[in-house]
Amino acid sequence: MSLGIAILVVIAYILLTPAVGLAMEGYDRVLTARMQGRKGPPLLQPLYDIQKLFNKQAIVVNNLQTVLVLGFVIFTIFTGCIFFAGGDILLVFFAHSLSDMFLVLAACSANSPYSSLGAQREFIQMMAYEPMTLLAAIGFYMVCGSFNVSDIIAADVPAVMKAPGVFLGYAFILVIKFRKSPFDLATSHHAHQEMVKGLTQDISGRSLGWVEVGDLYEQVQMLAIAGLFFVWRNPWSYLLAFGVCMAIYFTMILVDNVYPRVKWQPMLAYTWAITFILGGGNFLILTMLKR
């Protein structure tokens, strides 16, 4: 990818992602309502929520929290910039962990017990899904021979052809990343969270608005990485990847409404088992085929 195109793609990503994220979240809330037999809010409800948060009085627990929340937003956007500029997928996952760490520290900086409990649970969630993200990056390398996104999208065959297990494992951890039931332990986008709000308990007003904006970017880029499994040299593959992303998103909303929340022990057990069986098994087969 030439530098000019990369810059254009990154600018488009920064400008368009909030709109895409809002549309996704709006559909999520309407679909969730329909699945529960309700009419549900208008499609633009997430936009109204964020607008309102930016118009509320800012009650700041401590100044550090504001800095950490901004750190979360900046590094989340930075993560997407690396990805959409065709950079290193390993770096994408590392930058993403860093941005998540900022959010956890923001929650830790408050004195509230709910907030600290949310932060601890977010750490457990990170512990559960991080191995799979690393396997996903290695999977791309084993299939395409490069960690660079620009090389992966120029491959002869889509990564999913040789690494379907890694793709399924990655799709599984997206449930944690999107804060969906059964794995929404730290905080939830809907009002069915058992621990008030957890992670975002002490973040209010404008700061909470920024967290929501950061979440929009995070969701879009996590789905985009899932789509990357279906992209190869053929330009039409982007359409396929888009369709797959939508299908994954719909499945996650369905799962959210079907399964009850689990405790952290089953979450960790399921996620690591899936990581080991699907990711590890896929690697084993790939290594045997290469011999």
Partner: protein, 147 residues
């Protein structure tokens, strides 16, 4: 900019007999579906715009109510749900009840009833939403005046 399109609720039981509480929760069930107005039951004062209080205030809940109210960011409105929250109801003469919640925090909307009906409650909250917008525009005018 209308703040009223996304009112988030906080429900607090000051000393209610649970009759009104059940109705408050009932109005957030799929049957009445308050989410179509963008209303979410947050359970967190720092995220809430509307405080719904049931039951009269007694000595144990006075400070809690004050604290919850002070933790909510402006603009905010308070809805007294049920006759006890409005003026103490049948517990008014009790030795430990100081009356309706307006004896502790300013109330914007009074919704009477024993127990309050979900329809009446939703009506009251929609009224509160209108007040929320009024308060926001007043805030903006004050800001412009003070520079």
């Amino acid at each position: 900019m209308q703040i009223s399109k996304s009112p988030w609720l906080l429900h607090y039981d000051a000393s209610s007999c649970n009759g009104c509480d059940i109705e408050v929760l009932a109005s957030t069930t799929p049957r009445f579906d308050v989410e179509r107005f963008g209303i979410i039951n947050t359970g967190n004062p720092k995220h809430a715009d509307i405080l719904v209080v049931t039951g009269g205030v007694n000595n144990q809940t006075r400070m809690v109510l004050k604290q919850l109210y002070s933790q909510m960011p402006d603009p905010k409105v308070v809805v007294a749900a049920g006759i006890c929250a409005c003026d103490g109801g049948i517990f008014k003469e009790c030795y430990n009840i100081s009356g309706g919640i307006d004896t502790v925090i300013p109330v914007d909307v009074y919704v009477p009833g024993c127990a309050v009906r979900p329809e009446a409650l939703i009506d009251g909250i929609v009224k509160a939403i209108a007040i929320l917008d009024e308060k926001r525009s007043k805030q903006l005018i004050m800001k412009q005046k003070t520079g």
